[in-house]
């Protein structure tokens, strides 16, 4: 029951030197003190560090002093057992105590081999345990990433810019500067997506109007530039600051791109915000004192009553031009004159003779139990407005101009040509004899004697001779009250008394009342005509049947949402570039084929720019 302790060291040449000593004890003290059985001369070891006790044939128990854990078989502990059969080691400071069964002359003893070795290089160990060895270093990958990105995303696009300078139109294929695109091009400009330089002409210079005008030549100006400059309001603190920043960066005011903002989605380019209009048109008359326009800033609470262009006279037979005037709908006793006499109320009645006639002709013309608007008013192909009314298409089925029948053919007066009407009536009276009196034919009963026959002959000959003169009377009748023309038209009396040169004031129909605004009937087809037009109570053609702005406001809100009403910015009805086309919003919506089923469906459409995303 004893130990053999072997101190092992190496010469500088690597040769092993073993000094061994046999200790016949059951327990060994380990420490730096000279009386210890196993002497470990190292300052990392305390005087009495641990005790090894032999337990049975081949077990060694290690107990250390309190709070001085040692490493037993790789585990740091203050207490442990080691089987000498299996072997094990204890590490105390830089010393390793290997436990094994003795062999040879030490058979039966437990051999403790003490090695002193320098601790493994901590720095090397630290490196081994770090990730640094197996992943690329931070510094090198930072450089690689940064350089790759600068080359691919900066140098290459700049090269693309300079290499295609002066090129009329870029070829297909990839151009590196397209990776700078800040958002999809709008529908109309999508063909330019590969050709940045078509708009971004000069480097570090914001898009100029000249680039736009290269294609969009002939776009009408909103107003003369000097007047627009006067109309512009004083900017507030915030916006004048923003403007000064823009100026500092050489960005022009009021350019095309100020309103038409590109790279904001692949649909139609969004309409300009209402603010762009309202800026100048709020309090416009204070700055631009001679303007014809009234102040406006929002449809709901800052828009004047509509001022349609109304016809004052339709022009005369002498070729004088019709006269129009923009007149507000809230003018007292507003009247227009288009040359026609037409009571809408009479024609739309459900119960009068017109309705009766409509019923009679319904099989032929598709009328219902009475006339309705669409029986006469036919929309234009685009649905925006209505075709003009014509005698032939819309009136003649009831208002017949027939005056004679020859065989099965009905002769009618020529509509629109009064002199032809006069000639036709004259011809009628000249070319036909009066009906032959009954007593001039031979086969009938008569009073005795020739006297009565002779008188009849005399009268008939007189009538036949003078029949031609009765045409004058008929012509006068046609052009006078209860005559065929007079009912619907304003008759111009002959310039010379007794002459028959009657004439008719020309009828002119207004195709478009609102020349500064746009109204699309198609967009309103969910509504009845009578919702806006009070035609069924209008007794005179001179009534202006346009709805007032209040009617529109029942469904249309202003620039900000209000209940179920439709958000309606300026661009819904007005065009900035005053051309004859529909305003921007209407065009954009129509292009997308969005048409509402019901009024409330408008809420989700593009006309609400906040939701158009």
């Amino acid at each position: 029951m004893s130990f053999v302790v072997k101190y092992r060291s190496r010469t500088s040449g690597g040769r092993e030197i073993i000094r061994s000593k046999t200790v016949d004890k059951d327990s060994l003290s380990v420490g730096r003190a000279s009386e210890c059985d196993i002497l470990l001369s190292d300052l990392g070891v305390t005087l009495h560090h641990a005790t090894l006790t032999r337990e049975g044939r081949n077990q060694v128990r290690v107990v250390t002093e309190e709070n001085l854990p040692v490493n037993i078989n790789g585990r740091s502990t203050t207490r442990g057992d080691i089987s000498a059969q299996r072997g094990g080691n204890i590490r105390i400071g830089p010393h390793r105590l290997s436990v094994a069964m003795g062999d040879g002359e030490d058979e039966g003893r437990i051999a403790i081999t003490v090695d002193r070795e320098e601790a493994a290089d901590k720095v090397a160990a630290h490196k081994l345990f770090n990730l640094a060895g197996i992943v690329p270093g931070k510094r090198i990958s930072s450089w690689v990433f940064a350089v790759l990105i600068l080359v691919a995303c900066l140098a290459w696009p700049i090269f693309a810019y300079f290499s295609s300078q002066g090129v009329e139109e870029r070829g297909p294929g990839f151009h590196a500067d397209t990776m700078w695109i800040s958002g999809p091009m709008s529908q109309a400009h999508s063909n330019l997506a590969n050709d940045c330089q078509s708009c971004h002409v000069e480097a570090f210079v914001s898009v100029r109007d000249s680039a736009c005008l290269e294609c969009h030549a002939g776009v009408p100006d909103h107003a003369p530039a000097d007047r627009m400059a006067i109309a512009e309001p004083e900017l507030g603190l915030g916006r004048s600051f923003l403007r000064s920043v823009a100026h500092a960066f050489n960005r022009p005011d009021n350019s095309c791109a100020s309103c038409h903002i590109e790279h904001e989605g692949s649909g139609p380019m969004p309409a300009a915000p209402q603010r762009f209009c309202a800026d100048c048109h709020t309090g416009l008359d204070a700055r631009l004192t001679d303007t014809r326009f009234e102040d406006v800033h929002d449809f709901v609470d800052g828009h004047p009553e509509f001022r349609p262009r109304i016809m004052l006279t339709p022009g005369g037979v002498d070729g004088s031009r019709p006269q129009y005037r923009r007149t507000s709908l809230d003018t007292e006793d507003l009247r227009e004159d288009n040359g026609l006499k037409f009571p809408h109320e009479l024609h739309l009645s459900q119960s009068n003779g017109v309705a009766r006639m409509a019923q009679r002709l319904s099989a032929q013309y598709g009328f219902g139990n009475a006339l309705d608007c669409a029986d006469c008013h036919v929309e234009t192909p685009d649905g925006v407005r209505f075709e003009p009314i014509t005698m032939e298409a819309n009136c003649q089925m009831c208002h017949s101009l027939a005056f004679d029948r020859i065989g099965g053919t009905i002769r009618t007066l020529r509509h629109g040509e009064p002199e032809m009407v006069v000639a036709d009536i004259r011809a009628f009276y000249r070319g036909t004899a009066p009906p032959r009196p009954i007593d001039l034919s031979g086969m009938h009963r008569r009073r005795p004697g020739d006297d009565s026959q002779a008188r009849t002959v005399g009268r008939y000959q007189f009538a036949a001779r003078t029949r031609y003169a009765r045409a004058d009377q008929a012509i006068r009748a046609v052009f006078s009250r209860d005559g065929a023309c007079y009912d619907c038209h304003q008759v111009v009396q002959p310039p010379i008394r007794g002459s028959l040169n009657f004439d008719i004031t020309p009828v002119r129909q207004i195709a478009r009342y609102m020349h500064y605004g746009w109204f699309d009937h198609k967009a309103h087809e969910t509504e009845e005509c009578s919702t806006c037009h009070a035609a069924d109570t209008s007794e005179e053609a001179s009534d202006v049947l346009l709805p007032r702005i209040e009617t529109c406001r029942e469904c249309h809100a202003g620039g900000s949402p209000s209940g179920e009403r439709i958000v309606s910015t300026c661009a819904m009805c007005h065009s900035y570039h005053a051309d004859d086309a529909a305003p921007y919003l209407v065009r954009a919506r129509n292009n997308r084929g969005q048409r509402p089923e019901r009024v409330r469906d408008y809420g989700g459409l593009a006309i609400n720019p906040r939701e158009d995303r």
Binding site: N73, F129, L131, I134, K138, I149, C153, G183
Partner: protein, 298 residues
């Protein structure tokens, strides 16, 4: 530790500053989450502003609000990147590195809000979105980093069990040496099995192997199974040797497992920085490209 063990000798340590309940205040809890509150307030304010300010036709980085957010964002990014410089100089107090790090973490997180609102949620295949994506990678890797720093050191310490890395290496080397010595009497085939066990170390393999928590079957496990089978058969004259080898191999197996766990945890603690830092520089490059391109094609 130092203060706990020190005796109150002289005025070297002012005891009055060490009140009861004084505990370590890390950069995450610095000044009772001062910077967390600050960053939260900034983010909330910006979100409310974004919702209230109606940019026509749709929110975008080129509006006045967009430029404001973008400028704030780029200044913040540059400042955040300066932590790399700042951390090399430790200073105490209000301007301590701890304060700076705390601000770095929380203001960095608020950059998610600033940067994303700057995009106006318009993302695409372009250099601008590249910058945003890189920014998000940096922020998310940083988020992973602070999560790792909060949760993993405890596990690392438990696994280490007060041994140092050098000791772990030595343990492995010890076992290898003993295996080598013990295996001398074996014939060639068995010796090769032991040699494979000796050759196995925990450091081979790439980054994925190191971060993976999957059990790895190597030479040690195979040799252990081999000698365990032989020693349990129990009819060989080499039985004691097999027993000894089995014991050594299972010790090596345990030591390897500990080293691998150590490596894995340490790797997780470190790996995020290998993304965070290089992608930060990639982000700075992409930001330069973003800003220059915007003004180049203005």
């Amino acid at each position: 530790m130092a203060t706990r063990g020190a005796e109150p000798t002289g005025g070297e340590i002012d005891r009055t500053t060490l009140k009861g309940g004084v505990q370590h205040e890390g950069f995450l809890r610095y000044r009772r989450l001062y910077w967390a509150k600050m960053a939260g307030a900034i983010s909330a304010t910006l979100i409310v502003a974004y919702l209230l300010i109606d940019i026509k036709p749709r929110p975008n980085g080129g509006s006045w609000f967009g430029y404001t957010l973008g400028t704030a964002g780029v200044l913040l990014i540059v400042w955040l990147a300066f932590l790399g410089v700042r951390k090399r100089a430790m200073t105490p107090g209000r301007w301590s590195l701890k304060a700076w790090t705390s601000a770095h973490v929380y203001l960095g997180l608020s950059l998610i809000v600033i940067g994303t609102l700057h995009t106006g949620f318009q993302l695409g295949w372009n250099v601008h979105t590249l910058a945003w994506v890189l920014m998000m990678i940096v922020i998310l890797s940083g988020l992973f980093g602070i999560t790792a720093y909060t949760t993993l050191p405890g596990k690392l310490s438990t696994n280490r069990d007060e041994t140092t890395e050098a000791q772990m290496l030595e343990t492995l080397a010890d076992i290898n040496r003993q295996l080598f010595d013990a295996a001398q009497p074996l014939e060639a085939g068995s010796a090769a099995v032991v040699q494979r066990a000796i050759d196995e170390n925990a450091f081979s393999g790439g980054i994925w192997r190191r971060l993976s928590s999957r059990q790895q079957i190597g030479g040690t496990a195979e040799a252990l199974a081999e000698f365990r089978a032989r020693s349990s058969a129990g009819d060989s004259p080499l039985d004691t040797l097999y027993d000894r080898l089995e014991a050594l191999l299972s010790r090596k197996q345990a030591a390897l497992a500990r080293v691998r766990r150590h490596l894995r945890i340490k790797g997780l603690l470190q790996v995020w920085l290998y993304i965070h830092v290089p992608v930060t520089f990639a982000l700075l490059a992409a930001l330069s490209a973003h800003i220059i391109s915007v003004f180049f094609y203005w």
